[in-house]
């Protein structure tokens, strides 16, 4: 079994628009041929080759799955940025060439849903932008509830509301107008699937409310890309490769392993999919688990780690890589 990505797709930045003061929308076109088809909810990994390091960040595709001449992504400038979003905002120009990995969908619409309820907070709107294109082709009823700090912070508020006023509901914190999650989830018809993408607090509120109201787990979907947190520097020993790697404070464990030339498996780079799960073979401190994949027991065991987002507070961590 191969764990590495065999191909990336070379693309050129065809357009950059400032959507809000913090969000830019990038249009990416292929250098040759056409881009792969995808389903709404998919993300791509954008590979950015900076001067002294490579960034690989996941971004949801927001353009229509029916239009494959280009892809569009929105990049929120994180403050402080670990580098990727700042690179996109400051270094990338129209004409810049980047590489992307094939789309992956970890946030797919359930095809058997009787109704689709989409809940977006802030930049979490992006996967839904593509899904709305898919939903318009189905006969399944759907609603989007989209919360932002203010109309100025709401990328795409206006265009969405104008296109489908009866299906799109906007909320702005500045108006003290919030999504009534409990009310909304308690009056849905049987067979409704709910999807949430947004800040961590919003996601937990939706998950907790759904659980409390007795929603089946299979009908509740969320996407939460954790940016790899920074932390203290530490050292890791890769047992199979026989090398030691230093993980600086501002690099993720996965990034440090890659920079050392070791090919480690990954898929989402956001602690969601479980693909990079790696066995820990030695540890003289504690693991700081930042993923949403491992069970509480697995985390407590200290025997596995997801290097894309997790770190260690120790002098020495040894991995089966």
């Amino acid at each position: 079994m191969s764990s590495s990505h065999s191909d990336t797709i070379p693309v050129r930045v065809a357009a950059i628009e400032s959507v809000t003061s913090q969000i830019k929308r990038f249009t990416l076109e292929p250098l040759r041929g056409e881009l792969p088809a995808f389903s709404g909810g998919s993300h791509i990994i954008v590979v950015m080759r900076g001067q002294d390091r490579v960034y690989r960040n996941p971004y949801s595709l927001m353009s229509s799955p029916q239009e494959l001449e280009n892809y569009q992504i929105s990049v929120l400038r994180c403050d402080p940025s670990r580098g990727g979003s700042a690179f996109m905002h400051e270094q990338v120009r129209v004409g810049t060439e980047l590489e992307i990995a094939h789309p992956v969908n970890l946030f797919a619409l359930a095809k058997l849903a009787r109704k689709q309820l989409l809940l977006a907070g802030g930049i979490g709107i992006t996967p839904f932008m593509a899904q709305l294109h898919d939903l318009r082709l189905t006969r399944v009823p759907y609603e989007l509830h989209y919360a932002t700090r203010s109309p100025q912070h709401g990328a795409y508020c206006e265009s969405l509301a104008r296109a489908e006023p009866e299906r799109v509901h906007l909320y702005h914190d500045c108006d003290r107008h919030f999504i009534d999650i409990e009310g909304l989830l308690s009056r849905q018809p049987l067979g409704t699937h709910v999807y949430v993408c947004g800040p961590a607090g919003m996601i937990s509120r939706v998950l907790d409310t759904a659980r409390a109201l007795g929603w089946p787990e299979s009908h509740v979907h969320y996407e939460k890309f954790a940016a790899p947190p920074t932390g203290e520097a530490f050292d890791v020993y890769l047992q199979k490769s026989g090398i030691s790697v230093h993980v600086p404070a501002d690099r993720s464990l996965l990034e440090a392993i890659e920079e050392a030339g070791v090919d480690a498996p990954y898929l989402c780079r956001g602690g969601v999919c479980g693909f990079c799960r790696t066995d820990v073979v030695g540890l003289d401190g504690e693991i700081l688990h930042n993923d949403h994949f491992l069970s509480a027991e697995e985390k407590a065991s200290g025997k596995v780690i997801m290097p894309c987002v997790s770190r260690a507070r120790c002098r020495k961590l040894a991995l089966n890589l």
């Binding site: 065999s6 094939h102 095809k111």
Partner: protein, 348 residues
Amino acid sequence: MNVALDRMDQVYRGAYTFSNSPAAIRRFPLPFPDDKYMYSVNLEPHTPGPKGSVIEFPIDCDEHYVAECHDRAIVIQQDPLRIQALPHMMPAQWDTLELGMLSLSQSYPHWFTLTRQGRQWHWINRPLGLNQKFTFGDPSTLPYEPLEYITRQLQGDWIIMDQRDNDLWVEGGMVTGPADWSMDFDVGMSFNEWHGPVPLGHEMGVFNRALKYLINLRLGEPVRRTNWTMTVNPKLDTSPHNYPEWGPDRASVTLENVGRKLHLRTELQGLWRLPRSNGIVFMVRTYLLSLQELVTIPKWARRVHRVLRDLHPALVDYKGLTRHRPLAVQYLAQFDDGSPTTPGTAPE
């Protein structure tokens, strides 16, 4: 691709005129990399293999292409339930059609041509004499639903799966050449239900590992594996529905005819992530090789003799080999002088 489609008059039923040319024998995908066999999650990237091999292209088209498509048409005519797809699988049907047409036209441009202008597609299949203009995404512009349309023109069985709840669901397929399983019976099942009858694998955790791997299968990075069994007479359609047709043949094998009648049956299985549906398509491409064809390759004769002789009893039973394995072992023993076999599956 130098293999001609010149064996189109062969049949997989009745007089069983099917046979392999010497070139087809040498490219047969032997499913045994070692002299012994046990299940494993033997998945590997479905990347292009050596020129002329069955994995040179993503979807192999060989000298049996026309004959196999004819055999499929006969089976569907007799039993229309061999092709099924649940309503929500329509996007996966189009994905499969796209995969088939792109792959064939790129691999075999002299036989297949695809021209696309937006959603207006034009497909030419010269071996089967088909010329079809249609609108991608609009089933009313094709003579059959997209999965049936394309799989009537592909060798092998094709199953489409939906992915949800961290599982894969068998919710459509064209299955006219199964090794004793039924699409009609299995449609709607989860991955583990579908594999329920397979012995040992569950205890070994093979299916849970495979499922976990497949759930993360990536677009543009298909994988493949092989599986195998044995079939009496070169019959593709060994389905439970028509067991009365092929079951009795199993009693007809003797030491005199075992070389001609008994066939090693390799399934080259391919799995692709589908782009629009986020489903997975599962190809089960069957290759048949009679024992008398097999023994023309001395290394293979020795290896298959050893595999069959030492096969785990549960697998002997599950693969339906109980009755004729002793004859096969006895027949192949004459070609096994005990000398070692070289690693890998290549003829020598």
